[in-house]
Symmetry: C2
Subunit: 308 residues, 2 copies
Protein backbone atom coordinates (compact mmCIF):
# COMPACT_ATOMS: atom_id res chain seq x y z
CA UNK A 1 0.00 0.00 0.00
CA UNK A 2 1.33 3.41 -0.92
CA UNK A 3 0.71 5.98 1.80
CA UNK A 4 1.26 9.70 1.50
CA UNK A 5 4.19 9.56 3.89
CA UNK A 6 5.96 6.88 1.87
CA UNK A 7 5.91 9.01 -1.28
CA UNK A 8 6.79 12.27 0.46
CA UNK A 9 10.47 13.27 0.47
CA UNK A 10 11.63 10.42 -1.81
CA UNK A 11 15.29 11.43 -1.60
CA UNK A 12 15.25 11.06 2.18
CA UNK A 13 15.99 7.67 3.71
CA UNK A 14 13.40 6.13 6.00
CA UNK A 15 14.37 6.71 9.59
CA UNK A 16 13.94 8.95 12.60
CA UNK A 17 14.79 12.21 10.80
CA UNK A 18 12.41 11.77 7.89
CA UNK A 19 9.70 10.61 10.30
CA UNK A 20 10.27 13.61 12.55
CA UNK A 21 9.74 15.97 9.62
CA UNK A 22 6.65 14.19 8.28
CA UNK A 23 5.12 13.85 11.74
CA UNK A 24 5.73 17.51 12.51
CA UNK A 25 4.17 18.69 9.26
CA UNK A 26 1.15 16.43 9.77
CA UNK A 27 0.63 17.71 13.31
CA UNK A 28 0.75 21.42 12.43
CA UNK A 29 -1.14 21.18 9.13
CA UNK A 30 -4.00 18.88 10.14
CA UNK A 31 -7.15 20.74 11.14
CA UNK A 32 -8.33 19.49 14.51
CA UNK A 33 -4.83 18.39 15.58
CA UNK A 34 -3.80 19.57 19.04
CA UNK A 35 -0.73 21.16 17.42
CA UNK A 36 -2.62 22.73 14.52
CA UNK A 37 -1.09 26.00 13.24
CA UNK A 38 -3.07 28.24 10.84
CA UNK A 39 -1.41 28.61 7.42
CA UNK A 40 -0.51 32.28 8.01
CA UNK A 41 1.74 31.18 10.89
CA UNK A 42 3.40 28.32 8.99
CA UNK A 43 6.69 30.09 8.33
CA UNK A 44 9.82 28.05 7.59
CA UNK A 45 13.26 29.68 7.38
CA UNK A 46 16.26 28.08 5.70
CA UNK A 47 19.89 29.06 5.72
CA UNK A 48 21.35 28.86 2.19
CA UNK A 49 25.12 28.14 2.06
CA UNK A 50 25.71 24.57 3.25
CA UNK A 51 21.99 24.07 3.94
CA UNK A 52 20.27 24.45 0.56
CA UNK A 53 23.36 24.20 -1.64
CA UNK A 54 26.97 23.09 -1.25
CA UNK A 55 29.41 25.57 0.27
CA UNK A 56 32.52 23.48 -0.34
CA UNK A 57 35.32 23.92 -1.20
CA UNK A 58 34.14 27.57 -1.18
CA UNK A 59 30.81 29.32 -1.00
CA UNK A 60 29.26 30.06 -4.38
CA UNK A 61 29.43 33.79 -3.78
CA UNK A 62 33.19 33.55 -3.24
CA UNK A 63 33.60 32.26 -6.80
CA UNK A 64 31.43 35.10 -8.06
CA UNK A 65 33.54 37.51 -6.07
CA UNK A 66 36.80 36.12 -7.48
CA UNK A 67 35.52 36.59 -11.02
CA UNK A 68 34.36 40.13 -10.18
CA UNK A 69 37.79 41.02 -8.79
CA UNK A 70 39.40 39.74 -11.99
CA UNK A 71 37.07 41.98 -14.00
CA UNK A 72 37.83 44.98 -11.77
CA UNK A 73 41.60 44.29 -11.79
CA UNK A 74 41.55 44.36 -15.57
CA UNK A 75 40.50 48.02 -15.29
CA UNK A 76 42.52 48.95 -12.17
CA UNK A 77 45.65 46.81 -11.57
CA UNK A 78 46.17 48.32 -8.09
CA UNK A 79 43.10 46.47 -6.76
CA UNK A 80 44.73 43.05 -6.20
CA UNK A 81 47.67 44.80 -4.46
CA UNK A 82 45.38 46.07 -1.66
CA UNK A 83 43.86 44.24 1.31
CA UNK A 84 41.54 42.49 1.58
CA UNK A 85 41.69 41.85 -2.19
CA UNK A 86 45.36 40.83 -2.02
CA UNK A 87 44.75 38.05 0.49
CA UNK A 88 41.75 36.97 -1.52
CA UNK A 89 43.40 36.60 -4.91
CA UNK A 90 46.38 34.87 -3.26
CA UNK A 91 43.93 32.40 -1.61
CA UNK A 92 45.47 33.51 1.69
CA UNK A 93 42.35 32.82 3.70
CA UNK A 94 44.23 32.91 6.99
CA UNK A 95 45.10 36.57 6.49
CA UNK A 96 41.62 37.20 5.14
CA UNK A 97 40.09 35.73 8.29
CA UNK A 98 42.46 37.72 10.48
CA UNK A 99 40.98 40.83 8.90
CA UNK A 100 37.69 39.90 10.55
CA UNK A 101 34.46 38.38 9.33
CA UNK A 102 32.92 41.77 8.70
CA UNK A 103 35.96 42.86 6.67
CA UNK A 104 35.48 39.76 4.58
CA UNK A 105 31.87 40.69 4.09
CA UNK A 106 32.89 44.18 3.07
CA UNK A 107 35.14 42.67 0.45
CA UNK A 108 32.03 41.14 -1.06
CA UNK A 109 30.22 44.43 -0.94
CA UNK A 110 33.09 46.53 -2.29
CA UNK A 111 32.80 44.67 -5.57
CA UNK A 112 29.09 45.53 -5.80
CA UNK A 113 29.11 49.19 -4.79
CA UNK A 114 28.27 52.06 -7.11
CA UNK A 115 26.01 49.90 -9.21
CA UNK A 116 22.28 50.14 -9.57
CA UNK A 117 20.24 47.11 -8.56
CA UNK A 118 19.51 46.51 -12.26
CA UNK A 119 23.19 46.62 -13.23
CA UNK A 120 24.06 44.19 -10.45
CA UNK A 121 21.29 41.83 -11.54
CA UNK A 122 22.60 41.89 -15.11
CA UNK A 123 26.18 41.09 -14.06
CA UNK A 124 25.01 38.37 -11.68
CA UNK A 125 22.67 36.70 -14.15
CA UNK A 126 25.38 36.64 -16.82
CA UNK A 127 27.74 35.01 -14.32
CA UNK A 128 25.27 32.33 -13.27
CA UNK A 129 24.52 31.58 -16.92
CA UNK A 130 28.17 30.92 -17.84
CA UNK A 131 30.23 30.04 -14.73
CA UNK A 132 30.94 26.41 -13.82
CA UNK A 133 31.53 24.97 -10.35
CA UNK A 134 35.24 24.00 -10.22
CA UNK A 135 34.58 20.78 -8.29
CA UNK A 136 31.38 19.51 -9.89
CA UNK A 137 31.81 21.02 -13.36
CA UNK A 138 28.13 22.01 -13.51
CA UNK A 139 26.29 25.33 -13.30
CA UNK A 140 26.45 26.72 -9.77
CA UNK A 141 22.68 26.39 -9.37
CA UNK A 142 23.10 22.63 -9.82
CA UNK A 143 24.88 22.23 -6.47
CA UNK A 144 21.55 22.59 -4.65
CA UNK A 145 20.70 19.56 -2.51
CA UNK A 146 17.87 17.47 -3.97
CA UNK A 147 16.43 16.37 -0.61
CA UNK A 148 16.15 20.03 0.39
CA UNK A 149 14.35 21.00 -2.80
CA UNK A 150 11.87 18.23 -2.02
CA UNK A 151 11.52 19.48 1.54
CA UNK A 152 10.84 23.07 0.43
CA UNK A 153 8.21 21.81 -1.97
CA UNK A 154 6.67 19.48 0.61
CA UNK A 155 6.37 22.30 3.12
CA UNK A 156 4.73 24.61 0.58
CA UNK A 157 2.26 21.87 -0.39
CA UNK A 158 1.37 21.78 3.30
CA UNK A 159 0.67 25.49 3.46
CA UNK A 160 4.06 26.74 4.61
CA UNK A 161 5.62 29.96 3.39
CA UNK A 162 9.32 29.22 2.82
CA UNK A 163 12.03 31.83 3.41
CA UNK A 164 15.78 31.94 2.94
CA UNK A 165 17.70 33.65 5.76
CA UNK A 166 21.29 33.76 4.56
CA UNK A 167 24.61 35.30 5.53
CA UNK A 168 25.18 35.68 1.79
CA UNK A 169 24.31 38.83 -0.09
CA UNK A 170 20.55 39.24 -0.42
CA UNK A 171 20.81 40.53 -4.00
CA UNK A 172 23.03 37.64 -4.98
CA UNK A 173 20.67 34.97 -3.69
CA UNK A 174 17.67 36.79 -5.16
CA UNK A 175 19.14 36.17 -8.61
CA UNK A 176 18.47 32.44 -8.40
CA UNK A 177 15.95 31.86 -5.60
CA UNK A 178 12.95 31.55 -7.89
CA UNK A 179 14.23 29.08 -10.46
CA UNK A 180 16.41 27.13 -8.00
CA UNK A 181 14.20 26.97 -4.91
CA UNK A 182 10.74 28.17 -5.91
CA UNK A 183 11.16 30.99 -3.37
CA UNK A 184 10.19 34.52 -4.47
CA UNK A 185 12.74 37.31 -4.15
CA UNK A 186 10.78 39.01 -1.37
CA UNK A 187 11.16 35.87 0.74
CA UNK A 188 14.93 36.14 0.82
CA UNK A 189 16.55 37.85 3.81
CA UNK A 190 20.31 38.26 3.71
CA UNK A 191 23.34 40.43 4.21
CA UNK A 192 22.93 43.77 2.52
CA UNK A 193 24.57 47.05 1.72
CA UNK A 194 22.72 50.28 2.27
CA UNK A 195 20.84 51.51 -0.77
CA UNK A 196 20.56 55.07 -2.05
CA UNK A 197 17.90 56.53 -4.34
CA UNK A 198 19.35 58.35 -7.32
CA UNK A 199 17.71 60.16 -10.23
CA UNK A 200 19.23 59.46 -13.65
CA UNK A 201 17.70 61.14 -16.69
CA UNK A 202 14.50 61.67 -14.72
CA UNK A 203 14.36 58.02 -13.65
CA UNK A 204 14.48 56.94 -10.04
CA UNK A 205 16.83 54.05 -9.32
CA UNK A 206 18.33 52.24 -6.35
CA UNK A 207 22.11 52.31 -6.08
CA UNK A 208 24.18 49.94 -3.96
CA UNK A 209 26.52 51.87 -1.65
CA UNK A 210 29.72 50.42 -0.12
CA UNK A 211 28.25 50.83 3.37
CA UNK A 212 27.20 47.68 5.19
CA UNK A 213 23.51 47.61 6.00
CA UNK A 214 23.26 44.29 7.79
CA UNK A 215 25.56 41.29 8.17
CA UNK A 216 22.91 38.60 8.43
CA UNK A 217 24.60 36.09 10.71
CA UNK A 218 23.92 34.68 14.21
CA UNK A 219 21.63 36.96 16.30
CA UNK A 220 21.22 39.30 13.33
CA UNK A 221 19.34 36.53 11.53
CA UNK A 222 16.76 36.63 14.32
CA UNK A 223 16.58 40.44 14.30
CA UNK A 224 16.05 40.41 10.54
CA UNK A 225 13.32 37.78 10.86
CA UNK A 226 11.60 40.18 13.27
CA UNK A 227 12.04 43.09 10.87
CA UNK A 228 11.07 41.34 7.64
CA UNK A 229 8.57 38.67 8.70
CA UNK A 230 7.29 39.93 12.03
CA UNK A 231 6.44 36.49 13.35
CA UNK A 232 8.36 33.61 14.82
CA UNK A 233 8.90 30.79 12.31
CA UNK A 234 7.79 27.30 13.38
CA UNK A 235 10.51 25.51 11.42
CA UNK A 236 14.13 26.43 10.74
CA UNK A 237 16.97 24.61 9.03
CA UNK A 238 20.65 25.51 9.29
CA UNK A 239 24.09 23.95 9.15
CA UNK A 240 26.47 26.10 11.20
CA UNK A 241 26.91 28.05 14.41
CA UNK A 242 25.77 31.08 12.42
CA UNK A 243 22.30 29.50 12.39
CA UNK A 244 22.15 28.57 16.07
CA UNK A 245 20.42 31.78 17.21
CA UNK A 246 17.72 31.25 14.57
CA UNK A 247 17.20 27.62 15.59
CA UNK A 248 16.89 28.59 19.27
CA UNK A 249 14.48 31.40 18.43
CA UNK A 250 12.26 28.99 16.56
CA UNK A 251 12.38 26.42 19.36
CA UNK A 252 11.54 29.06 22.00
CA UNK A 253 8.02 29.65 20.69
CA UNK A 254 4.93 27.96 22.11
CA UNK A 255 3.47 24.89 20.39
CA UNK A 256 5.03 22.47 17.94
CA UNK A 257 8.41 23.58 16.55
CA UNK A 258 11.07 21.90 14.45
CA UNK A 259 14.73 22.98 14.30
CA UNK A 260 17.01 21.06 11.95
CA UNK A 261 20.78 21.12 11.59
CA UNK A 262 22.51 19.56 8.59
CA UNK A 263 25.76 17.80 9.37
CA UNK A 264 28.07 17.35 6.41
CA UNK A 265 29.46 13.90 7.15
CA UNK A 266 29.52 12.43 3.68
CA UNK A 267 32.96 12.57 2.14
CA UNK A 268 32.00 10.11 -0.57
CA UNK A 269 29.11 12.13 -1.99
CA UNK A 270 29.90 15.70 -0.84
CA UNK A 271 32.33 16.61 1.98
CA UNK A 272 32.75 15.72 5.63
CA UNK A 273 33.36 18.86 7.66
CA UNK A 274 32.05 20.75 10.61
CA UNK A 275 34.29 22.29 13.28
CA UNK A 276 37.26 23.01 11.05
CA UNK A 277 35.47 24.95 8.27
CA UNK A 278 36.94 28.39 8.76
CA UNK A 279 34.29 30.35 6.86
CA UNK A 280 31.31 28.93 8.76
CA UNK A 281 32.11 26.37 11.48
CA UNK A 282 29.68 23.98 13.11
CA UNK A 283 30.73 23.31 16.72
CA UNK A 284 28.56 24.85 19.43
CA UNK A 285 25.32 23.98 17.64
CA UNK A 286 26.43 20.36 17.36
CA UNK A 287 27.53 20.14 21.01
CA UNK A 288 24.26 21.66 22.24
CA UNK A 289 21.83 20.11 19.75
CA UNK A 290 20.34 17.64 22.23
CA UNK A 291 20.07 20.20 25.01
CA UNK A 292 18.35 22.70 22.72
CA UNK A 293 16.05 20.14 21.09
CA UNK A 294 17.63 20.48 17.65
CA UNK A 295 17.33 17.55 15.23
CA UNK A 296 20.68 16.75 13.61
CA UNK A 297 20.34 15.62 10.00
CA UNK A 298 23.15 13.38 8.79
CA UNK A 299 23.78 13.74 5.09
CA UNK A 300 25.29 10.26 5.01
CA UNK A 301 22.51 8.53 6.94
CA UNK A 302 19.42 10.56 6.04
CA UNK A 303 19.82 11.40 2.35
CA UNK A 304 19.32 8.81 -0.38
CA UNK A 305 20.83 11.16 -2.94
CA UNK A 306 22.62 14.47 -2.47
CA UNK A 307 22.41 16.27 -5.82
CA UNK A 308 19.70 16.18 -8.49
Amino acid sequence: MTTISSVALPSWNDGATRSAIIDFVARVAKQGSADYVPPSERIATFDNDGTLWSEQPLQVQVYFLADRIKQLAAKDPSIPQRQPFKAFVEHDFKTLMSLGKQAAAELFFATHAGMSEDEFAEIGRAWFASAKHPKYGCAFTQVAFKPQLELLDYLRKNGFKTYIVTGGGVDFVRLICEQSYGIPREQVIGSSVKLRVEMRDGCSMLMKTPELGSFDDREVKVQNIGLHIGRRPILAFGNSDGDLAMLRYVKSGAGARLALLLQHDDDAREVAYDREFMLSPLAEALDKATEYGITVVSMKRDWKVVFG
Copy 2:
Protein backbone atom coordinates in the same frame (compact mmCIF):
# COMPACT_ATOMS: atom_id res chain seq x y z
CA MET B 1 -25.74 43.79 -19.21
CA THR B 2 -23.46 43.36 -16.22
CA THR B 3 -19.81 43.35 -17.18
CA ILE B 4 -16.91 42.55 -14.89
CA SER B 5 -15.75 46.14 -14.91
CA SER B 6 -19.15 47.44 -13.83
CA VAL B 7 -19.15 45.25 -10.70
CA ALA B 8 -15.49 45.81 -9.82
CA LEU B 9 -14.76 48.55 -7.28
CA PRO B 10 -18.42 49.27 -6.46
CA SER B 11 -17.56 52.10 -4.05
CA TRP B 12 -15.70 53.98 -6.78
CA ASN B 13 -17.64 56.37 -8.99
CA ASP B 14 -17.55 55.81 -12.72
CA GLY B 15 -15.06 58.15 -14.30
CA ALA B 16 -11.50 58.57 -15.48
CA THR B 17 -9.85 57.39 -12.24
CA ARG B 18 -11.81 54.17 -11.84
CA SER B 19 -11.33 53.45 -15.56
CA ALA B 20 -7.60 54.08 -15.30
CA ILE B 21 -7.32 51.51 -12.52
CA ILE B 22 -9.45 48.88 -14.22
CA ASP B 23 -7.73 49.38 -17.58
CA PHE B 24 -4.30 49.14 -15.98
CA VAL B 25 -5.13 45.92 -14.14
CA ALA B 26 -6.64 44.38 -17.28
CA ARG B 27 -3.56 45.26 -19.31
CA VAL B 28 -1.01 43.79 -16.90
CA ALA B 29 -3.02 40.72 -15.89
CA LYS B 30 -4.27 39.55 -19.27
CA GLN B 31 -2.09 36.89 -20.83
CA GLY B 32 -1.17 37.91 -24.37
CA SER B 33 -1.56 41.63 -23.63
CA ALA B 34 1.36 43.79 -24.78
CA ASP B 35 1.64 45.05 -21.20
CA TYR B 36 1.35 41.62 -19.55
CA VAL B 37 3.28 41.28 -16.27
CA PRO B 38 3.81 37.82 -14.72
CA PRO B 39 2.12 37.41 -11.31
CA SER B 40 5.44 37.31 -9.44
CA GLU B 41 6.14 40.88 -10.60
CA ARG B 42 2.65 42.21 -9.77
CA ILE B 43 3.65 44.06 -6.61
CA ALA B 44 1.47 46.91 -5.32
CA THR B 45 2.60 49.14 -2.44
CA PHE B 46 0.24 51.29 -0.36
CA ASP B 47 0.98 53.97 2.15
CA ASN B 48 -1.24 53.53 5.24
CA ASP B 49 -1.99 56.79 7.12
CA GLY B 50 -4.26 58.93 4.96
CA THR B 51 -4.18 56.38 2.13
CA LEU B 52 -5.75 53.24 3.59
CA TRP B 53 -7.29 54.79 6.68
CA SER B 54 -8.07 58.27 7.95
CA GLU B 55 -5.23 60.25 9.51
CA GLN B 56 -7.38 63.15 10.71
CA PRO B 57 -7.58 64.91 13.10
CA LEU B 58 -4.53 62.85 14.13
CA GLN B 59 -2.90 59.65 12.95
CA VAL B 60 -4.18 56.52 14.70
CA GLN B 61 -0.78 55.79 16.18
CA VAL B 62 -0.75 59.23 17.83
CA TYR B 63 -3.85 58.26 19.83
CA PHE B 64 -2.18 54.99 20.81
CA LEU B 65 0.91 56.93 21.83
CA ALA B 66 -1.13 59.36 23.94
CA ASP B 67 -2.72 56.48 25.82
CA ARG B 68 0.68 54.83 26.28
CA ILE B 69 2.14 58.04 27.72
CA LYS B 70 -0.78 58.22 30.16
CA GLN B 71 -0.01 54.66 31.26
CA LEU B 72 3.69 55.44 31.63
CA ALA B 73 3.04 58.72 33.46
CA ALA B 74 0.94 56.85 36.00
CA LYS B 75 4.14 55.01 36.96
CA ASP B 76 6.63 57.87 36.44
CA PRO B 77 5.13 61.38 36.81
CA SER B 78 8.33 63.01 35.48
CA ILE B 79 7.64 61.70 31.98
CA PRO B 80 5.12 64.34 30.89
CA GLN B 81 7.49 67.05 32.22
CA ARG B 82 10.18 66.13 29.67
CA GLN B 83 10.38 66.86 25.94
CA PRO B 84 9.15 65.61 23.59
CA PHE B 85 6.47 64.15 25.90
CA LYS B 86 5.67 67.56 27.38
CA ALA B 87 4.82 69.10 24.02
CA PHE B 88 2.85 66.02 23.17
CA VAL B 89 0.58 65.88 26.21
CA GLU B 90 0.06 69.63 25.93
CA HIS B 91 -0.99 69.17 22.28
CA ASP B 92 1.77 71.66 21.46
CA PHE B 93 2.39 70.24 18.00
CA LYS B 94 4.28 73.34 16.90
CA THR B 95 7.00 72.69 19.48
CA LEU B 96 6.84 69.00 18.72
CA MET B 97 7.43 69.68 15.04
CA SER B 98 10.27 72.09 15.88
CA LEU B 99 11.98 69.16 17.58
CA GLY B 100 12.20 67.56 14.15
CA LYS B 101 10.34 64.76 12.41
CA GLN B 102 12.84 62.18 13.56
CA ALA B 103 12.49 63.38 17.18
CA ALA B 104 8.76 62.92 16.83
CA ALA B 105 9.35 59.42 15.59
CA GLU B 106 11.63 58.75 18.54
CA LEU B 107 8.81 59.80 20.82
CA PHE B 108 6.78 56.96 19.34
CA PHE B 109 9.58 54.53 19.82
CA ALA B 110 10.47 55.61 23.36
CA THR B 111 7.08 54.38 24.47
CA HIS B 112 7.77 50.96 22.95
CA ALA B 113 11.35 50.32 24.03
CA GLY B 114 12.41 47.65 26.50
CA MET B 115 9.47 45.43 25.60
CA SER B 116 9.56 42.13 23.81
CA GLU B 117 7.70 41.87 20.52
CA ASP B 118 5.13 39.68 22.29
CA GLU B 119 4.56 42.20 25.09
CA PHE B 120 4.13 44.99 22.58
CA ALA B 121 1.64 42.91 20.60
CA GLU B 122 -0.38 42.26 23.75
CA ILE B 123 -0.53 45.97 24.69
CA GLY B 124 -1.38 46.97 21.14
CA ARG B 125 -4.10 44.37 20.67
CA ALA B 126 -5.74 45.34 23.95
CA TRP B 127 -5.72 48.97 22.85
CA PHE B 128 -7.26 48.26 19.44
CA ALA B 129 -9.94 46.12 21.13
CA SER B 130 -11.09 48.90 23.47
CA ALA B 131 -10.09 52.36 22.15
CA LYS B 132 -12.56 54.49 20.22
CA HIS B 133 -11.83 57.07 17.55
CA PRO B 134 -12.63 60.50 19.09
CA LYS B 135 -14.16 61.87 15.90
CA TYR B 136 -16.04 58.87 14.54
CA GLY B 137 -16.75 57.08 17.83
CA CYS B 138 -15.95 53.68 16.31
CA ALA B 139 -13.06 51.27 16.69
CA PHE B 140 -9.91 52.65 15.10
CA THR B 141 -9.85 49.85 12.53
CA GLN B 142 -13.22 51.13 11.26
CA VAL B 143 -11.68 54.31 9.84
CA ALA B 144 -10.27 52.34 6.91
CA PHE B 145 -11.53 53.60 3.54
CA LYS B 146 -13.99 51.21 1.91
CA PRO B 147 -12.95 51.99 -1.68
CA GLN B 148 -9.37 51.12 -0.76
CA LEU B 149 -10.35 47.81 0.81
CA GLU B 150 -12.12 46.99 -2.44
CA LEU B 151 -9.07 48.03 -4.43
CA LEU B 152 -6.72 45.83 -2.35
CA ASP B 153 -9.05 42.91 -2.85
CA TYR B 154 -9.48 43.60 -6.55
CA LEU B 155 -5.72 43.69 -7.04
CA ARG B 156 -5.22 40.41 -5.17
CA LYS B 157 -7.95 38.75 -7.24
CA ASN B 158 -5.91 39.80 -10.26
CA GLY B 159 -2.75 38.18 -8.99
CA PHE B 160 -1.16 41.15 -7.22
CA LYS B 161 0.75 40.86 -3.97
CA THR B 162 -0.27 43.85 -1.85
CA TYR B 163 2.15 45.56 0.55
CA ILE B 164 1.87 48.37 3.04
CA VAL B 165 4.83 50.78 3.07
CA THR B 166 4.15 53.12 5.97
CA GLY B 167 5.89 55.84 7.94
CA GLY B 168 4.07 54.41 10.94
CA GLY B 169 5.60 51.80 13.20
CA VAL B 170 5.84 48.44 11.49
CA ASP B 171 4.86 46.54 14.66
CA PHE B 172 1.86 48.79 15.20
CA VAL B 173 0.45 48.29 11.70
CA ARG B 174 1.19 44.56 11.86
CA LEU B 175 -1.32 44.31 14.69
CA ILE B 176 -4.24 45.00 12.38
CA CYS B 177 -3.05 44.44 8.81
CA GLU B 178 -4.54 40.97 8.48
CA GLN B 179 -8.05 41.56 9.74
CA SER B 180 -8.31 45.13 8.39
CA TYR B 181 -6.65 44.84 5.01
CA GLY B 182 -6.13 41.15 4.29
CA ILE B 183 -2.39 41.84 4.18
CA PRO B 184 -0.09 39.43 6.06
CA ARG B 185 2.32 40.81 8.63
CA GLU B 186 5.34 40.03 6.49
CA GLN B 187 3.98 42.32 3.76
CA VAL B 188 4.13 45.38 5.99
CA ILE B 189 7.21 47.62 5.73
CA GLY B 190 7.39 50.51 8.15
CA SER B 191 9.38 52.59 10.58
CA SER B 192 11.19 50.41 13.06
CA VAL B 193 13.39 50.37 16.10
CA LYS B 194 16.41 48.11 16.23
CA LEU B 195 15.72 44.73 17.79
CA ARG B 196 17.92 42.79 20.17
CA VAL B 197 17.89 39.06 20.90
CA GLU B 198 17.65 38.28 24.59
CA MET B 199 17.54 34.97 26.47
CA ARG B 200 14.98 34.80 29.29
CA ASP B 201 14.68 31.54 31.25
CA GLY B 202 16.32 29.71 28.36
CA CYS B 203 13.91 31.23 25.83
CA SER B 204 15.06 33.40 22.97
CA MET B 205 13.04 36.56 22.44
CA LEU B 206 13.21 39.76 20.44
CA MET B 207 13.34 42.98 22.45
CA LYS B 208 12.54 46.43 21.07
CA THR B 209 15.38 48.88 21.76
CA PRO B 210 14.99 52.68 21.87
CA GLU B 211 17.35 53.02 18.90
CA LEU B 212 15.81 53.99 15.58
CA GLY B 213 16.28 51.36 12.90
CA SER B 214 14.59 53.05 9.98
CA PHE B 215 12.29 56.04 9.59
CA ASP B 216 10.28 54.82 6.64
CA ASP B 217 9.49 58.06 4.87
CA ARG B 218 10.31 59.63 1.47
CA GLU B 219 13.44 58.07 -0.14
CA VAL B 220 13.70 55.57 2.72
CA LYS B 221 10.44 54.00 1.53
CA VAL B 222 12.17 53.20 -1.74
CA GLN B 223 15.30 51.87 -0.01
CA ASN B 224 13.16 49.64 2.18
CA ILE B 225 11.24 48.36 -0.84
CA GLY B 226 14.62 47.35 -2.27
CA LEU B 227 15.64 45.67 0.97
CA HIS B 228 12.39 43.87 1.73
CA ILE B 229 10.85 43.16 -1.67
CA GLY B 230 13.82 43.29 -4.03
CA ARG B 231 11.76 44.30 -7.02
CA ARG B 232 10.18 47.47 -8.31
CA PRO B 233 6.42 47.58 -7.69
CA ILE B 234 4.20 48.24 -10.71
CA LEU B 235 1.54 50.10 -8.70
CA ALA B 236 1.82 52.46 -5.74
CA PHE B 237 -0.72 54.53 -3.86
CA GLY B 238 0.08 57.39 -1.50
CA ASN B 239 -1.38 60.64 -0.20
CA SER B 240 1.50 62.92 0.79
CA ASP B 241 4.93 64.22 -0.16
CA GLY B 242 6.31 61.39 1.97
CA ASP B 243 5.08 59.01 -0.74
CA LEU B 244 6.41 60.93 -3.72
CA ALA B 245 9.74 59.08 -3.92
CA MET B 246 7.87 55.76 -3.95
CA LEU B 247 5.48 56.93 -6.67
CA ARG B 248 8.36 58.15 -8.82
CA TYR B 249 10.28 54.91 -8.31
CA VAL B 250 7.28 52.92 -9.46
CA LYS B 251 6.76 55.14 -12.50
CA SER B 252 10.45 54.90 -13.46
CA GLY B 253 10.28 51.19 -14.31
CA ALA B 254 9.78 49.86 -17.83
CA GLY B 255 6.32 48.74 -18.98
CA ALA B 256 2.90 49.64 -17.63
CA ARG B 257 2.91 51.41 -14.26
CA LEU B 258 0.28 53.12 -12.14
CA ALA B 259 1.00 55.71 -9.43
CA LEU B 260 -1.98 57.05 -7.49
CA LEU B 261 -2.24 59.95 -5.09
CA LEU B 262 -5.26 60.41 -2.86
CA GLN B 263 -6.35 63.99 -2.37
CA HIS B 264 -8.45 64.62 0.72
CA ASP B 265 -10.90 67.18 -0.67
CA ASP B 266 -14.09 66.02 0.98
CA ASP B 267 -14.92 68.07 4.03
CA ALA B 268 -18.47 66.74 4.12
CA ARG B 269 -17.57 63.06 4.43
CA GLU B 270 -14.00 63.17 5.83
CA VAL B 271 -11.68 66.22 5.75
CA ALA B 272 -10.36 68.61 3.12
CA TYR B 273 -6.64 69.12 3.61
CA ASP B 274 -3.36 68.87 1.80
CA ARG B 275 -0.62 71.51 2.00
CA GLU B 276 -1.40 72.63 5.54
CA PHE B 277 -1.31 69.27 7.31
CA MET B 278 1.76 69.64 9.48
CA LEU B 279 2.31 65.95 10.18
CA SER B 280 2.32 64.85 6.55
CA PRO B 281 1.74 67.59 3.95
CA LEU B 282 0.76 67.11 0.35
CA ALA B 283 2.24 69.91 -1.79
CA GLU B 284 5.11 68.97 -4.10
CA ALA B 285 3.46 65.71 -5.16
CA LEU B 286 0.28 67.58 -6.09
CA ASP B 287 2.16 70.29 -7.99
CA LYS B 288 4.19 67.75 -9.95
CA ALA B 289 1.57 65.04 -10.42
CA THR B 290 0.97 65.77 -14.11
CA GLU B 291 4.66 66.10 -14.88
CA TYR B 292 5.46 62.80 -13.14
CA GLY B 293 2.49 60.92 -14.58
CA ILE B 294 0.77 60.47 -11.23
CA THR B 295 -3.01 59.98 -11.20
CA VAL B 296 -4.67 62.19 -8.58
CA VAL B 297 -7.65 60.52 -6.91
CA SER B 298 -10.23 62.94 -5.60
CA MET B 299 -12.07 61.58 -2.58
CA LYS B 300 -15.01 63.84 -3.36
CA ARG B 301 -15.27 63.02 -7.05
CA ASP B 302 -14.03 59.43 -7.22
CA TRP B 303 -15.46 57.73 -4.13
CA LYS B 304 -19.13 56.79 -3.83
CA VAL B 305 -18.69 56.08 -0.12
CA VAL B 306 -15.74 56.76 2.18
CA PHE B 307 -16.16 54.43 5.14
CA GLY B 308 -17.64 50.95 5.37
